[in-house]
Symmetry: C2
Subunit: 134 residues, 2 copies
């Protein structure tokens, strides 16, 4: 009888521990990257439109593309940074093979003067941003 009474709380504990371990494992798998680009100043509007469409599409249709923030610098609009979070290494590789990524790369080839891809390690990923493709 005593054992029976303990079963339910123990089961709940085991499920909760499993959930915590799962969440931690998912976080550890995250791939966090930055891209720094310099854009041809004569093609800024076209480049921004292509990048915006690409980022929104990728986050909307690819389950493993969690975050694509893209900004340009106020003091030098040719300087663009993209802050990228993927659920895993496989999700990142799958993104590079996607039709929308290949379309974006092809369309912007003549607009990008330089591209630096930076692998990073997160220190903090604190957010309460509304979920959005925009």
């Amino acid at each position: 009888m005593k054992n029976k009474k303990l079963f339910k709380p123990l089961l709940i504990m085991v499920v909760m521990m499993g959930f915590c371990i799962h969440t931690r494992a998912q976080q550890n798998k995250l791939v966090v990257r930055m891209a720094r680009l310099v854009i041809d100043s004569a093609q800024l509007d076209a480049y921004r439109a292509a990048l915006q469409e690409h980022a929104e599409t990728a986050v909307r249709v690819e389950p493993g593309v969690l975050n694509l923030y893209a900004v340009y610098e106020k003091n030098d609009p040719t300087q663009v940074t993209v802050f990228e979070i993927y659920a895993s290494e496989e999700a990142y590789k799958s993104h590079l093979r996607s039709a929308h990524f290949i379309k974006y790369k092809t369309a912007t080839r003549q607009m990008v003067k330089s591209l630096e891809l930076i692998e990073t390690v997160p220190i903090a990923l604190a957010t309460k941003m509304p979920h959005s493709n925009g």
Copy 2:
């Protein structure tokens, strides 16, 4: 009678339009910034711990601090980037006056070798990251 039937859908339309205008106005007020820092290589662990605590605290306790992503570069761990989103200019100013920001600035003064603050304009802010202070 005809007018009465139209009232409900028209009301819904007006409320929805109001919501869209409100959302757009909120988005236009966003302040999106980056900080690029170079950290003393002998104090990396202490610096990361202080920045992590600061970022998590700010997003948790300040309603207008929407996003603080902080990363270091795999190839050069002294290079740190913080990607910051505030709800408005007032939220950013209020953040600079907060007790936890002043504590972080004071604690890390001797760890930071250089600091570049960059005002940016968003091209895309696409995310479906789980909300987290971590």
